[in-house]
Symmetry: C2
Subunit: 193 residues, 2 copies
């Protein structure tokens, strides 16, 4: 957002004296998007001396996983913010491109062992949607037969009777993530890909 001099930046703000880093991240995300209850995770702190030309600034970067259903209306209008596909990333100010790369890498690692990918999807999603999410994160094709066998074998997806019919004639069954089953299993550590 904030296309200062034709160059974009990630959204950000300053930490207040009476709020934690995590609280600041939540507040800033909310103030610029209206979104609440979003999965956020601290990424890294960037502290090169001259990284910000305006003075000495240390940035504690967070990334958020935002449900693809939620973004349209709320974000775009108010703060000339924009969503950008990773493969169309424009030049970014300061070290913000590094931040994006770091976040992408972290997401790839994380998504292999934690069910955070589901936060990026609507509550009801189809296997093809989940597949293409993983393909986007890994920027690589994944065999759909192996993928669905593996996902279903984890036993943390509940199949619904309902089908999503907008993107195909046949329609794809909806699934929901089963938080309870996941929590029972997560102690033994399970692998998502």
């Amino acid at each position: 957002m904030d296309p200062g001099l034709g160059v974009w930046s990630l959204m950000g703000g300053f930490v207040k004296i009476d709020e934690s880093l995590d609280e600041a991240a939540v507040r800033i995300l909310h103030s610029l998007t209206g979104l609440d209850n979003i999965y956020m995770e601290q990424l890294h702190s960037y502290g090169a001396v001259h990284r910000d030309i305006g003075g000495r600034v240390i940035s504690v970067a967070y990334f958020a996983l935002i449900n693809i259903e939620d973004y349209e209306e709320q974000v775009l209008d108010e703060h000339d913010a924009r969503w950008v596909p990773l493969n169309e990333l424009p030049d970014l100010i300061f070290d913000h491109k590094q931040m994006v790369q770091d976040a992408h890498q972290r997401l790839r690692q994380k998504v292999a062992n934690h069910p955070i990918g589901f936060a990026l999807l609507p509550e009801k999603f189809t296997l093809p949607q989940l597949l293409s999410l993983y393909e986007a994160i890994y920027d690589a094709p994944i065999d759909k037969r192996n993928f669905s066998r593996k996902m279903l074998s984890l036993g943390i997806l509940k199949k619904l009777a309902e089908k999503e019919k907008s993107s195909s004639r046949k329609g794809a069954f909806f699934y929901v993530f089963d938080q309870e089953k996941y929590e029972k299993l997560s102690n033994e550590g399970l692998s998502f890909i």
Copy 2:
């Protein structure tokens, strides 16, 4: 170090205006231990409002991997610092225990995919030493036959003719980490455990 009121803390210091976070970490490690060229990695930034009773302090935590040969002489004397085995960790000030737990967990993840474990060993080390290092990091026994087969199959260890004879009658062969071979292989991503 710094047993203020009978409670220990991790070592730390303040970032200067003309140094990066990474430089500060290196400087502080050096000033308190005399050590240089140590593998360090930023862990996490801790920013709860009241985490430090002395005022609002945000701590950017780093962890270092220090060769077990190097520590004896330099550290202990000068700053009443002490090394503590993880399973004998005393109470620590503020959120420092959390930091140690976070670092331990990060190390377990990291060591599975990156050859950073070798930084903790002397340049020449034996397979039993490497094994017990991994057992310490994972706090779990590892089968030595499977372990040595896997490590050797990576092809990044050079066996020396020399043996380490102080800890057994038979003696164990020394190995060295082969940085070059590792770099050739690392693009494909290899798994250490």
